[in-house]
Amino acid sequence: MRRSGFNGILHTNFITNERGTSMEKLIEKSEYLHYINDNDTLLVGGFGLSGTPLTLIDELADSSKKGLTIVSNNLGEAGKGLGKLLLSKNIKKAKGSYFTSNRDAVKAWSDGELEIELIPQGTLAEAVRCGGAGIGGFYTKTAVGTKLAEGKDVKVIDGETYILEKAIKGDVSLIKAMKADTLGNLIYDHTGRNFNAVMATAGKIVIAEVDEIVEAGSFSPQEVETPHVYVDYIVMNKYVKKGGKYVEHS
């Protein structure tokens, strides 16, 4: 599950709780950059700024990584979340459903500095789900007869017209969860789940930013939303939630 050919130093830091359980997947926030190469495709969870891995994005924005293709519903907001990564010029291309609300994205596109591929929101979610589920593509009614269907294969199934959409996979997934347990099982905060659950399945390497790590068994198996098999590394959120928003540690 971890990428071969990685030449960096493998992490050795474990966290240990009071009962001596270690968390092997935990790495320092800057360390995850070793797993990202120029021109990679990154799958990034979040809806606007909700459920967005803000800490991971900050690290990337401070890095010299170039030519990234970002697959995410939005590019955050102007100057915030993935919007920050746009301003720091790490992004070559964005694939997602809605960029209009980030004026910087609109400007970067019109200045020829950003490529954009527009995908209906449900098609994006399903394409990434397929990518993580070993499915090559799927036929959907969404966008039939529109500009977004141009050049796509059309098929009539039981009298209804569908277009073929290919699965989407990524080199690295950057996701945000509320809690991880020491194995890397994840639970999300309300609608912060959004795209994170599918993004967690479709990256060759999956890095989850979390607010809290608890011992395995602390939450019920029935509560686990992303099983640990999907999660390679965990990074602690550098922000804390106060008044419903993430702020810097005071």
Binding site: G48, G51, T100, G122, L124, E126, V128, M178, A197, V198
Partner: protein, 217 residues
Amino acid sequence: MSIADRIKISKRIAEELNEGQVVNLGVGIPTLIPDYLGNKQLYMQSENGLLGMGPTPVDEEINMDLISASKQPITMEAGASLFDSSNSFAMIRGGHIDVAVLGVLQVDQTGEIANWAVPGETILGVGGAMDLVAGAKKIIIATMQTAKDGKAKLVKKLTLPSSGVRKADMVVTEHAVFTFDEGHMRLVEIISDVSIEQLIELTDAEFTYSEETITSN
């Protein structure tokens, strides 16, 4: 567009919604509808992953990870459920949403919808519009009769990019209610003091009506 007109449209659409229905409300005018449902219990779906959306929370309860698809803070009703984006769109695309109420830029006289590409602006956003158009069981359009520049929004043929081949079932404007029968637009009710002649003037689309519809208003 006046708030009174927006409220009138919302109230009229609220009358069309039935107890127990699962409803997805688009941005703009449709977001006002919950205020006019009275005692009707409906289940509001938000495409970012919630069925059972409740009203805006008090400040102390605002959580950026409990928001609507319009990215506004919300609450959850008793019996609400949370799910990821792929499940949310399985619900939408799979025909499990009873009614989608959508704003539009244009709707043509057959019911074809244009609601994603803003005129004169770069096309950089589609969101869930095309999935909702393709998948909801019933589509009700909430729109003003004319755009800000005075041009009719109910047109003979779309001049803006289509949102899909699936047609709307009903259009409610500040002046009138229209339905579609086999690709033809029909006026079913006038809800303002416009005359039929004025309504025809404000509407580029061709529609049919009965004498009864006009005289009952």
